[in-house]
């Protein structure tokens, strides 16, 4: 609902952090990790531009609320344990 200019603050200020924006909805492809092949090198975690990878015992767990499916983790993974699959498949 559009607010009148009189109801608005001087400049846009939000009371909630930007984490309320679930950017994972933009994704069309999703990273899938093969935990058996993972060497725990953490390169995927370092390269993820959205900080959407958490490490559990050194193994990447993708936070699908924020992962946009860019595929950088899969591209950088030296042991090829991350593959990108189309959303809706698999």
């Amino acid at each position: 609902m559009t607010k009148s200019h009189e109801e608005l603050p001087l400049t846009p200020i939000s009371d909630t952090p930007s984490t309320v924006n679930i950017t994972g909805l933009w994704r069309v492809v999703r990273p899938v990790v093969d935990k058996e092949k993972c060497k725990k090198c953490t390169i995927c975690w370092k390269f993820c531009p959205d900080a959407a990878i958490k490490l559990v015992d050194g193994i990447p767990v993708i936070d699908l609320d924020y992962c946009k499916g860019c595929g950088i983790c899969a591209f950088e993974c030296p042991s090829k344990c991350i593959i990108m699959v189309k959303e809706g498949e698999q």
Binding site: T2, K3, S4, H5, L8, P9, L10, T11, P12, I13, S14, D15, T16, P17, S18
Partner: protein, 395 residues
């Protein structure tokens, strides 16, 4: 106390008397002595401020934006290429409604490389949402900084302001300047207390994303704020006069305009020379006047319309030019007057670029020329003054 000082020191004293709390600056000719003087004030303890030396003008403005968002009164100063490097963040300062005050020592843009005065740098920042004050004297520089904080920090304005000093003509020329007592300035200018600021323990996002359904309402508010700034400036200047005993002419300073047949409209230090020329021509019986655009933003539409309705000829001298169009001040003055019932003949004179002197003789010839045009009509709407190779001789 009256002291003899340069325009740059007048700027530094203006910021000190206004009790700027954060100063972020990068040196550039001919601005450097402003921030050097402020660094001295901070080091000696005369001014209780955080001084942040930064690696560029873009960073200087970004630091001011951050500090102002946290509720501090901030000040910076720059010139020409430094100002244009700030362009992106100038827009942020106004959109975020931060009443930062900055001196710009107006200097020509390169190439051709130059360190001397013209107004290309300042005029190019016209649409960034800053109030812009062109000064004529060092006293006006000091006074306008104090006034600007008061205008800009008022609840209905909350926009930044640029105080424009002509390179070398003001920045490095010493004049007598009355430096008011700190306690008098304190009684005039209360501490900065914004409604909204960053607060510890209160998570908020500033400058948030706004979708098309709500963007225009924010911009409409910005427009209203600039409109409000006009009335606030007039009120603050009246109050300033009551406290300090002087004023500088509101948005459009008028000199001998009441019964004038032709007037010259211009901005900056050349107006002082033009006033002498007006006196000399008046002594010979010519009814001429001078109107000085002190505030370029907000633009003095109403004042120019009232003046334009009663004169036969109006010369507008721009100390800058706009690629592919007439001078900015001329174009805006002409647009203001278009819907007046009675309009003067108008002509644009482009002069004084890159520090070229605009002498009393040249100004006298402009008055002569506009008087002829007022009778005959304008032959050439925009004329470049004193350019070697052009047929008209100005010197």
């Amino acid at each position: 106390m009256r002291q003899v000082m340069t325009g740059n020191y007048a700027s530094a004293y203006g910021a000190k008397l206004s009790r700027a709390e954060v100063i972020a600056a990068y040196p550039i000719t001919p601005q450097t002595s402003i921030v050097e003087k402020l660094a001295e004030f901070v080091t000696s303890g005369e001014l209780n401020a955080k001084y942040i030396p930064v690696e560029s003008e873009h960073s200087a403005m970004a630091a001011c934006i951050a500090a102002e968002t946290a509720g501090a009164r901030t000040y910076t100063a720059t010139s020409s290429h430094g100002l244009t490097l700030m362009h992106e963040v100038l827009m942020w300062a106004s959109g975020a409604r931060l009443p930062i005050v900055m001196t710009n020592v107006s200097r020509a843009m390169a190439p051709p490389w130059s360190v001397w005065v013209d107004h290309m740098d300042s005029v190019a920042q016209r649409d960034t949402g800053w109030l812009q004050f062109f000064c004529q004297s060092n006293q006006e520089v000091l006074d306008t900084i104090i006034m600007a904080y008061k205008v800009c920090e008022s609840r209905k304005v909350m926009l930044p302001a640029m105080i424009i000093e002509d390179a070398f003509i003001l920045s490095h020329t010493s004049e007598p300047v009355d430096v008011p007592d700190q306690h008098v300035v304190d009684s005039f200018l209360p501490p900065y207390a914004p409604e909204l600021k960053i607060e510890v323990g209160k998570a908020r996002g500033f400058g948030s994303l706004v979708k098309p359904d709500q963007y225009m309402e924010f911009r409409y508010k910005d427009m209203l704020a600039m409109r409000e700034a006009r009335d606030r400036l007039l009120a603050v200047e009246k109050e300033f006069k009551n406290v300090f005993g002087r004023s500088h002419g509101g948005l459009l300073e008028q000199y001998m305009c009441d019964d004038a047949d032709v007037v010259l409209v211009t901005a900056g230090s050349v107006a002082a020379t033009a006033k002498d020329v007006v006196d000399a021509l008046r002594a010979k019986g010519s009814r001429v006047g001078l109107a000085r655009i002190r505030a370029f933003r907000p633009f003095p539409h109403e004042e120019l319309r009232a003046l334009g309705s009663k004169v036969e000829g109006m010369a507008v001298l721009d100390r800058s030019f706009t690629f592919g169009a007439a001078g900015a001040m001329f174009s805006e003055a002409k647009a203001s007057l278009y819907s007046c019932q009675k309009r003067p003949v108008m002509k644009n004179y482009i002069a004084g670029l890159g520090g070229r002197d605009i002498t009393p003789k040249i100004l006298g010839k402009i008055f002569e020329d506009i008087a002829v045009m007022a009778r005959r009509g304008v032959e050439e709407e925009v004329e470049w003054v004193d350019v070697a190779g052009l047929p008209r001789r100005w010197r």
